[in-house]
């Protein structure tokens, strides 16, 4: 039977989940260093408990640990997001006016994202950037799918209002 203590299972879990956990913590708190530390700590705990955790429970174990780790220690900072490269390249042939308007919009979007409550921001970006399903985000956050839908709705609504208002 597969066992988390087995090197192969463990490294597979790392490959599958480490980046999402990192993004998740980063979207919330905007601190890349702490997000790295959190991933490391979560996986250390998983290793220490590898005999007790079933592989299919490993994911929720990791998220629970990651959640508990930051809950009391981290304070939200400004989230510094970059645009993906492919996007930048496709832009090069546009007119200066278009580019300027576009850059302004991107700036507004980033600011509006920063102004969101951290739960809404993390939920929204996990869905938009990482393509996570509402059910999966619900599992990460330990809340119902309905609650996640509510957050998505509010996040998008607030973003629109912010961007229009500026």
């Amino acid at each position: 039977m597969d066992h988390v203590c087995e090197e192969q299972v463990y490294s597979q879990l790392f490959e599958t989940h480490s980046k999402t956990i990192y993004n998740y913590i980063y979207y919330k708190f905007g601190n890349s260093e702490k997000a790295h530390d959190t991933v490391q700590e979560a996986f250390v705990r998983l290793w220490e408990n590898c005999a007790k955790v079933q592989p299919e429970k490993a994911r929720s174990f990791l998220y629970t640990v990651a959640n508990n780790l930051y809950l009391n220690t981290l304070k939200a900072e400004k989230v510094r997001l970059k645009y993906a490269d492919r996007h930048q390249k496709s832009m090069t042939h546009e007119s200066p006016e278009y580019l300027m308007e576009h850059n302004q919009f991107q700036e507004k979007l980033k600011n509006a994202l920063n102004a969101l409550p951290e739960n809404q921001r993390a939920t929204f970006l996990l869905n938009r950037i990482d393509g996570k399903k509402y059910a999966e985000i619900a599992e990460m956050e330990g809340v119902s799918v309905k609650a996640i839908e509510k957050r998505m709705h509010l996040a998008l609504k607030t973003l629109r209002e912010q961007i229009e208002g500026i």
Binding site: V39, Q40, W47, R80, K82, L113, I129, M152, L156
Partner: protein, 313 residues
């Protein structure tokens, strides 16, 4: 429409009617744009390899801590005839040990001369370019477990991915993962620019993490965040020395590093802040670049350069 319709819309769960009504609404275009644009954002890069390597270290430490098995305590006596031989053997072993440690703890050191740039490859294939009159050293033996360098002067680093890599200067330490960055250390001045990856600058208890395009200038303990062009290289690598609000004395010292000249001054306020750059290849041009914005005059006599204030008789 129910209250979560935006979430449903993003998930393609709206009924045909709801969808139509939503598309027709005034806010639809902006919602669509936000939904699309946001997919193009990215968090700073996740250094998976780095975290994975650290995990391996932690795991190995845990395995080492297993209880020590008690040895049988029956005393063992060497037979007499071997005694003198063993003593000598022991001495040789100790000496070999010392010389091994000695050879391994020897610092490897590189120094560039005035007007010289030095290209170096470190044992892990990281690349370093030393600017003029700079020294870089590291402990060969410790390199594997501890990529730690000491820098005096200025250097550009292109670090191979791997374990932590630290550059120590008399004014602070710079800790990095795989990345490209520049360190300029002068009297009272430390400047670090990040071109790729992520760099942490530490002076005393204060720390700052730089991302590409960011730089920090620490002038006599005052931290000022600055900008550099992302993906570029420091200007000195293209034979130009650049400064951003730096006291003139540091600029004139730099001139002495880049050219084989002695710089003297008369009545010049050396604490005036200078922003700009000068050529590292053409001395006359360099002198003009410094004197014009500062409204100083200069005379040059062979290897001697004298700067003086305009109003000095």
């Amino acid at each position: 429409m129910e209250d979560n319709h935006l979430a449903k819309w993003l998930n393609g769960e709206l009924s045909e009617e709801e969808q139509k009504a939503f598309v027709a609404s005034a806010d639809y275009a902006l919602y669509k744009r936000i939904a699309e644009e946001s997919t193009l954002l990215r968090a700073p890069e996740f250094e998976a390899e780095e975290v994975w390597n650290k995990l391996q270290e932690v795991k190995n430490e845990a395995t080492d801590e297993q209880p020590v098995i008690e040895m049988d305590s029956t005393p063992v006596h060497w037979m007499e005839p071997f005694r003198p031989f063993l003593k000598i053997a022991a001495i040789i072993v100790v000496m070999l040990g010392i010389s091994y440690v000695y050879l391994n703890s020897q610092a490897t050191s590189f120094t560039s001369e005035v007007a010289q740039q030095l290209n170096l490859n470190l044992p892990d294939q990281s690349e370093v370019v030393l600017n003029a009159k700079s020294t870089l050293s590291y402990e060969q033996g410790e390199w594997e477990e501890n990529r730690r360098l000491e820098l005096e002067g200025e250097a550009y680093f292109k670090v191979a991915k791997g374990s932590k890599f630290t550059v120590e200067t008399s004014l602070g330490a710079i800790a990095v993962l795989g990345t490209e960055f520049n360190v300029r250390q002068r009297k009272g001045l430390l400047e670090v620019s990040c071109f790729e990856g992520k760099v942490q600058v530490q002076q005393g208890l204060k720390k700052l993490v730089l991302i590409p395009g960011e730089a920090v200038q620490i002038l006599d303990g005052n931290w000022e965040e600055q900008k550099v062009s992302e993906g570029a290289v420091p200007s000195w690598m293209s034979k130009e020395s650049s400064f951003n609000s730096v006291p003139l004395k540091i600029v004139l010292n730099e001139l002495q590093r880049q050219f084989d000249v002695d710089v003297d001054q008369d009545g010049v306020d050396l604490n005036t802040l200078f922003s700009g750059s000068f050529s590292n290849t053409d001395l006359n041009l360099a002198l003009e670049s410094i004197s014009i914005p500062t409204q100083l005059r200069y005379t040059r006599d062979g290897k001697k350069v004298l700067f003086y204030a305009t109003n000095t008789p």
